[in-house]
Amino acid sequence: MTGFKRMMGVSALALAAFLVGSAALAGTLENVKARGKLVVGVKNDYAPYGYLNDKGDVVGFEVSLAKYVAKELLGSEDKIELVPVVASNRIEFLTAGRIDAIFATLGVTAERTKVIDFTTEYVSAAGPSVLMAKEATISKWEELKGKSICGIQGSYYNKKMTEEFGINLVAFKTQPEAYRALKDNRCIGFVFDDMTLQQKLKEPDWASYKIAVAPYELLPMAGGLRKGDTEFHEAVDKAIGKAEAEGKLIAWETEFGMPHSDYIAARAKAAVAKKN
């Protein structure tokens, strides 16, 4: 019984720390200005959005955007701290106050809207697709019913894969294991973010593979902010809108080797129109 009581005590303590922690975080804009530094969660393994260049610096489309926001808020794009995050911890990092904002390939989903606020959207990215051997005859999501498909634990679309498409999902912790398992024929395909799989296909090792099933959706991506922080939210949105109007997003597409998207061009046009 004492063990149980102690366990409940520890849980309550952790909970209290969690609640106090989130209560002390109102007014990010004042905090950022007082600190003189914007702390942003970015990817460092995800070209072209956020990755390490040859010199070991974190660069990318979203990193440039984050720096632009820092410049708008604090006057210099160097007043920024880039914190590498991964998909499974970035929202925790934000809600726990470790970072002020997420600019890390964050897709806008209904579930996430319950927990965080999104900035204005700035990219429209393809959702998941399926990587399979070139010989594969499957080309539709519906044809994957009952098939063993590799995936990654915690991906936002996993529930849809099992519930809607009836896929037998074999989900790994990280990508290398999933690629290995696909080569081992433990699964007949790998469902993952289309942009990443496209990049993988460029490697010689994967020449005998193809994107067999195309993405079923385009998912807008946006920055993530803590809920209800209106002042900070408006300031960040204003900065992103300015970057769009100045054609910065198109320039970054060019700089980081992305195909020019109609989505970003249309947004830039709208932003300019709004400004005038």
Binding site: A12, I91, Q153, D184
Partner: protein
């Protein structure tokens, strides 16, 4: 209560995941525990035979499987054995696929890991038995086998039960590592649920309670077994 939000529990998909997770955790735990006890008994029996090469073999087995992390053993079974050629041709697709499924890899490696620990537990039971009992049995005319089955084994089993309980509870908790090789047990689904709902704390608390309940049932059963098997006046601390 405390601002915790358990509304996600109403989702039938999550209910199904939790149920499947618990069932798979139990399957893995029961299977590997039974196999570990069997391996432990056979190994300890083998050691009492005092055959040189058999002793060496059992010692080697214990050293290898007790001294390496079970997580590594699982990954080895899952990825390396198939690379080394443990493969079959799947008749439905004609592809060469690994012989052992993820579940088989987890069950086998946990059985061997638990078995290595159980051999040591049973051995300690046999070795700590008072010499006077064996001498008494011998003086009463018991032969080698009769002595083992009727005197040594029953007493040694009782002595090693607390140690065995420790091993089994540990083995039960170690099943959670099987999520790394995609066995859909409780931790596997827990991770997916909190990644979907962002209710990390709530999911963790629930999963913690499920493990506490399941392991408590095991330790309770083992305590009852100990009480049931106790000799009056021997080996009980009260």
């Amino acid at each position: 209560m405390f601002g915790l939000d358990y509304s996600w529990l109403a989702d039938p998909a999550y209910q199904q995941w939790l149920l499947t997770g618990v069932v798979n955790t139990l399957k893995l735990a029961v299977l590997s525990s039974s196999a570990a006890i069997l391996i432990g008994m056979l190994g300890a029996l083998g050691l009492t035979l005092r055959i040189f090469w058999l002793d060496a073999l059992i010692e080697l087995f214990v050293e290898v499987f007790r001294n390496t992390p079970p997580l590594l053993q699982m990954l080895f079974a899952y990825f390396t054995l198939s690379t080394l050629g443990l493969r079959v041709t799947d008749p439905s697709t004609g592809l060469s696929v690994p012989l052992l499924s993820a579940f088989a890899c987890a069950a086998i490696s946990l059985s061997l890991f638990g078995g290595a620990l159980a051999i040591e537990a049973f051995r300690s039971g046999i070795e700590t038995m008072p010499r006077s009992i064996i001498d008494a049995a011998r003086s009463l005319g018991y032969g080698r086998w009769a002595r083992f089955w009727r005197i040594e084994a029953p007493i040694a089993t009782r002595i090693c039960l607390p140690g065995l309980t420790n091993i089994l509870t540990n083995l039960f908790k170690t099943t959670s590592q099987a999520s790394v090789i995609t066995v859909p047990e409780l931790m596997y689904y827990a991770g997916q649920i909190y990644n979907d709902t962002f209710r990390t704390l709530e999911v963790m608390i629930l999963v913690l309670l499920i493990y506490v309940v399941l392991v408590s049932i095991l330790t309770f059963a083992m305590a009852r077994l100990e009480a049931f098997m106790a000799f009056p006046g021997y080996g009980r601390v009260h």
